[in-house]
Each structure stands twice: as C-alpha cells, then as structure tokens.
C-alpha cells in the first residue's frame, strides 16, 4: 500500500516535473477551439495526430478541431476572427498577417517569445513574426524555394548545376537547342510568377532592396527595378519558359517536367511530393540554389513560414498559449516536419531534420548559404493589394514583355495608393 502510494506520488512529481520542464504550466481545462487550414490529406493527418498528443497531456481540456479548405480559409478567416473566434488559428507570417494585426484581431504573444525555450530556438523566424516590435504568433513549419531539376536530363546534355546567371543561361540554351524547355511554370493563379520576380530581384539587387520595395519605398519605375526585369526578359526572350503558361496552374505545369519537356521548376519544396508520386526517382530529381546574378550581392532565399496565432477574441488564451508552446517544442517540430508528415523544415533549432535529400539541402542552404536574409514570399512580403496587382503584371510581362513600361506605370500608380 505504502509503496504504491509512494510510487504514484513519485510518478506524479515526475509528470509535473516533465510538464514544467516542457512548458512550465499547470493543468488546463475548458474548451480549446482550433481552426486549421491544413486540408490536404497528409498535413491534415499530421495536425490531427499532433493535437491528439496535446490532448493526451491535458486530459481535462476539451479540444475541438475544425479543418477548413486551404483556399476557402483565406477568405473565411476575416469572418471567424471577428464573429466567432477560435482559440488557435493557422495563418502565414510577415505582411500576410498585417491586416489582422492592425485590426487588433491577433493576440500579442511577445510574452511567449521572451521565454528562453522559444527565444533561443526560434530566433531565425522571429523577424517574420514581428510587426511593430511585437510578435503575433508562432511558426510551425517552413520550406525552401529553389530550382528543382531533372538531373538525368542535365547529365544527358552534359550540364551541371549553374554557379552563375551566365551559366544558367548557357545551360538553358543547350536545353533549348535539344528541344527541351528550361523551366516549367503555370501562371494561371499568378503567384508562381511572384517566385521568379523574388529570386531575380533578390539576386540582382539583394535582400535589403527587395524589402525596401515591399515596404513601398522604391518606385516601380525605378531603374533598378527595370534591371531586374531586363534580366528576366533575357530568359523570356530565349524562350526559356514553357509556352502558354498562363493557362496552367502550378500542378498542371508539373507534367512538362515529368515528361521531360521541361528540365526544371522554380518552386517550393512542396513540389517534391507530387513529382515523386508522378514517378521521378531521387536519381532523376535534384535541387540547386538560384545562382547569383550581380556579383557581391549576398544570397537571400524565399522560405515561406506557416504559423499559428491566437485570435484576440479567443476564450481560452491560457490553453492556446500552452498549445503554441507545444507546437514549437523541439520534439513536436521533429515529428510533424518529418518525411511521413509535412515533409518540411522544423522551425526549432534544436529539432532534427528528417533524412531526406531535399530537406537536408534546403536546410543547409537556409542556415549557411543565405547570408542576405530570408524572405517569406512575394505575396507574403508585399501588401495584399500590391501583390495582387504586381503578380498580374508579372504574368502579363511573361507573355508580352514589350508591355513592360505600361505595366510598371500601372504598378507605380497602385504603389502610390497602397502605401499612402
């Protein structure tokens, strides 16, 4: 009797110690409403399993999870943040969260970022979560962008990963001479063109200039912006991109690469899964960092970050904070980002990267070969309205490069209104 009591007391203290060591909390109760936009099968299962693990740690907490279609979520978030707010909601970092921060709909979670566990391990993404000197949420995953290419095609034509923009162009010329397009892209939904602008601009003028543009400090008609477009035009005039890309979504552009009609794709790491499913083996598929264009410009990358936030109107903020701590903890980060789950990069520096060729390359690139900085993505760094107009301009430019003056003049008009 005594020994069992002792044992259970020991177990209890151990459990308390574990939970305090983990997050420094006491037991949680009440309801926790979680809204997720992770509607694709794999992310959905990952999130649900993670929430289940959280629930096991807090048996008194009644967790209610709602998964909303990823695209529909983008418009519904406005309604549920104001009307019937959950306690935790997914969203995106940087400027994408600005409208909600400015409307006072996201909770300031700077207190979480003061905690050493988070402050030390999540330092790399702190900038993307900061608006007006405060942090408004925590990241849970991010992924690299870069050029995914058909290694077998490159080998066949004696090409290697380009180290300079000139090499990139000469590779491209060789491919074109052999009847293979250099890059596949589908611009029907516009944002894919934003990726190309990001990289061309980051490589031509660097991270700081790009961010000045995002902040509206550089006119679109500026000569430096024109230089970026001039570099882009070189590729367009070569015929580097697949024809009729304005008709395709990013998924519909994948078959060009799978069939060998195009050799490479500038994309986020999420393109790897469908390419593998379509039958490309890891021997055929490889990755390289977008090569430098202007000498001396520090390399900077796009690495979009997906995030969790606490709505300002949430009811159970205490449990929500605990959930955020749980999500970013090293163990959870290792699990949810591994190849069986999200297949992306963990945000916690103490978490381990899954044994996957693309994740390893991406992680190495972002942690040691991106001295210029890490951008989110065009439509997350630039304000929504500017991004929408600009990406439409990019699409037009890719089809009718001669319209550039007109496009830039139009974008400049929008800039003057948006940044007032």
């Amino acid at each position: 009797m005594r020994s069992t009591l002792k044992a259970s007391a020991l177990a209890l203290t151990a459990a308390i110690a574990a939970s305090t060591a983990f997050a420094g909390s006491h037991s949680l109760s009440g309801d926790l409403k979680i809204f997720l936009d992770t509607s694709n099968p794999a992310p959905r299962a990952t999130m649900e399993a993670m929430i289940e693990r959280f629930g096991e740690m807090h048996p008194d907490l009644n967790i209610e999870t709602t998964v909303i279609d990823r695209e529909a979520y983008k418009t519904q978030i406005r309604n549920f943040l104001t009307a019937d707010a959950p306690d935790v909601a997914t969203w995106y970092a940087a400027n994408r969260m600005r409208p909600y921060v400015e409307a006072g709909l996201f909770e300031d979670v700077s207190d979480l970022w003061m905690e050493p566990e988070i402050a030390e391990n999540l330092a790399s993404t702190k900038g993307a979560m900061t608006i007006d000197g405060k942090q408004w949420g925590v990241p849970y995953t991010y992924y690299q962008w870069g050029i995914y290419y058909r290694k077998d095609l490159y080998d066949q034509y004696g090409l290697s990963e380009p180290a300079t923009f000139d090499e990139m162009k000469s590779n491209c010329q060789t491919l074109l001479d052999n009847g293979v397009k250099c890059y596949t892209i589908g611009t029907k939904f516009l944002w894919t063109a934003g990726g190309w602008f990001d990289y061309l601009n980051l490589r031509t003028h660097g991270y700081d200039f790009h961010m000045e543009m995002a902040a509206g400090e550089v006119p679109w008609t500026d000569d430096r912006v024109r230089e970026t477009f001039a570099n882009w035009r070189e590729l367009i005039d070569m015929g580097a991109y697949v024809d009729n890309h304005q008709n395709y979504s990013w998924q519909e552009a994948l078959p060009f690469m799978v069939n060998g009609d195009a050799a490479a794709y500038l994309m986020g790491n999420f393109a790897v899964a469908p390419l593998r499913e379509a039958g490309l083996s890891d021997d055929q598929l490889d990755f390289y960092q977008f090569p430098p264009i202007t000498e001396g410009v520090a390399l900077a990358e796009d690495a979009p970050t997906d995030t969790f936030h606490i709505p300002a109107n949430a009811n159970n903020k205490e449990a929500a904070r605990e959930f955020l701590r749980f999500v970013v903890s090293a163990d959870e980060q290792t699990v949810i980002n591994n190849g069986q789950n999200l297949g992306q990069l963990p945000v916690n520096a103490s978490a381990s990267i899954d044994d996957d060729k693309f994740l390893e390359q991406g992680f190495a690139m972002l942690s040691s070969n991106s001295p210029g900085g890490v951008a989110q993505f065009f439509d997350r760094d630039f304000p929504a309205e500017m991004a929408a107009e600009a990406m439409q301009g990019f699409q037009e430019f890719m089809v009718f490069p001669d319209n550039l003056d007109d496009i830039l003049a139009r974008l400049e008009q929008v800039r003057q209104r948006v940044y007032k």
């Binding site: 409208p99 029907k188 304005q246 008709n247 439509d379 089809v399």
Partner: protein
C-alpha cells in the same frame, strides 16, 4: 361575456381581425416574403450604397471618403475592361435566344424517339456550370485540347483561346451559350405547344410558308416565351461569374473579368481588402441591372394593363 363572441350578436362587437379580414389576410400571407425580401435584398442594396462611400478593409475602422471610390473607378483600366466584357456578355449571350429557337423548331416534330433527342439537347443545362467550365477549358487547351487537334486536321495551327486576351472572353461566352441555348430551347418547345394550329392552317391557305410563316405567324405567338428567354438570358449574362472563375480566373492578366468578378476580387478574394471599392463596383453593376429590371417591370405592367 362569453356570449359576446358567439355568432349572431351585434356586428360592431366583432373582433378587429374579423372586421378587417379581407384587407389583412393577404398581407399576413405576404409578410414572410416581404420580411425576407427586405432583409436579404432591399436593405443590402442600401448598405452597399453606404459602404461604397467608405474606405474600409472589412476588419478595422471605416473611413468616410465621399465619392472617392467612384472617382477612382473612372480612371481604373481594369474596371473599364470589366465593363466592356460585361457588354460583350450581354450582346453575345443573347445569341442563345435565336439558337434555342432554331433547335426548338428543329426538334418540334413527331419522330420516333423525339423525347430522347429533346432530353439530349437539354442535357447541358442540367450540368453544373463548374463542369461546363472545366469541359470547355480542356476543350480549349492549346496543345492537348480537342479544338487544337481538330484545327490541326484541317492544317491550322494550335490556338490558345483562353490564354489570348483578345479571344478569352469570347471563348468563355461560347461555353456559357451551350447550357443557355438548351434553356431557351426548352422555353420555346413549351411555347410551340401553345401555337394555334388553326392560325397556321389559315396562314398556309393564304400562301405563307418558310421564313414568312415563321416571322409573321409563329414568332408573334411565341412572344411570352421570347420575353422569358430574354429575361433569363440577360440576368444570366450579368451574373456570369462561375465560368470565368473556373476557366480563366479572370486572366490572362485580368482581361476576362466582368464587374461581378472584379468586385469579388477587390473586396472578398484572397488579396481583396477593399470593401468600399468593391461596393462601388457592385453599385455600378446594380445600376446597369436596374435598367433591365425597370424595363422588365414596365413591360410586365403594360401586359397586365393590356390584359384587362
């Protein structure tokens, strides 16, 4: 006191409702419809007007800016493109009426299995607009699409209908005409049932046939069907949205937007945070619709007057 409510007592003591039953009952029956029509149609119209005077992102504080949204619309090229596209929709969508009439005339005969043919022709109207949009988008695909393959058979190069800013809108309208023609056809088929055979007989005795018979005898008798076909087609043209969203998403570079799609993009879509501006576009669209609504109401009113 209970006797007061019994019948056969003095008339002045009857309840208020009893006394006014004839006048009140219709209003009672109308009340739910009036209430919902007011809440969901009439009041939102005025709300749209008032929102269009504000600069509002749908989340924070709205700022009163007078008619600035409308001023901006005047210089907005994307708005101009949308307006022209709406006009194209209005004009070309009406082709569904003659097309529907001729298919109806063609099918209005007694052949074995005619019902099957009729239902086959009606089939596209049953399909969801989303499905129609997808089917046509594949049909138009520049390389793999059926259209390009058919053109290749006669030695013409591949065309990219939906990727070409000049042709994309016409391509979408054509896709919309497919179900709309079927709808008009059904309206005319029922209309043709009501055509008076004696008049046709009389006209035939007078030597009318072919086009003359159609123009002077048949079509005047189809006037009610034509009116309905006109109404539904105009409304269909003005609210075209789903096909555009599915087939081109407003692209290439916004050249296939119509007002309703542009409003959605500005106010409600992923990157749209301009409620006031969107409301201003909605008001313009409403005013255009108002022209037609007024015309429809007026002609229906005239019809009723004439009937008595």
């Amino acid at each position: 006191m209970t006797t007061a409510t019994l019948p056969d007592t003095d008339p002045p003591k009857r309840g208020w409702y009893k006394r006014n039953e004839i006048a009140v009952t219709p209003w009672l029956f109308l009340a739910p419809a009036v209430l919902f029509f007011a809440v969901y149609v009439i009041i939102p119209i005025f709300q749209s007007f008032s929102i269009s005077l504000y600069d509002w992102d749908g989340l924070g504080q709205a700022e009163y800016i007078g008619l600035a949204n409308y001023q901006e619309l005047m210089n907005d090229r994307a708005f101009e493109v949308s307006l022209w596209n709406n006009l194209k929709w209005l004009v070309f969508y009406l082709l569904a009426i003659p097309a529907g009439l001729f298919i109806a005339l063609f099918l209005n005969q007694t052949v074995a299995g005619i019902r099957i043919y009729k239902s086959l022709f009606f089939f596209p109207f049953v399909l969801s607009q989303v499905v129609v949009g997808l089917v046509f988008a594949w049909f138009y695909l520049p390389n793999e699409g059926l259209l390009s393959n058919m053109l290749a058979l006669v030695g013409l190069g591949p065309v990219n209908v939906l990727g070409d800013p000049t042709w994309a809108t016409y391509g979408i309208i054509l896709a919309g005409l497919w179900p709309q023609t079927a709808y008009c056809m059904i309206l005319y088929l029922t209309g043709l049932n009501a055509v008076d055979p004696e008049q046709v007989e009389a006209a035939r005795l007078d030597g009318a046939k072919g086009w003359k018979m159609l123009w002077y005898v048949i079509i005047p008798q189809l006037k009610p069907a034509t009116f309905i076909a006109f109404v539904v087609t105009i409304i269909g043209a003005l609210r075209s949205f789903d096909l555009i969203s599915i087939m081109t998403n407003g692209g290439p570079f916004g050249q296939t937007r119509v007002l309703s799609f542009y409003m959605f993009e500005k106010a409600l879509s992923e990157y749209g945070f301009r409620m006031g501006y969107g409301a201003a576009i909605a008001v313009v669209l409403f005013l255009i619709m108002l022209i037609f609504i007024a015309y429809f109401l007026w002609s229906m009113y005239r019809e009723e007057k004439g009937g008595h």
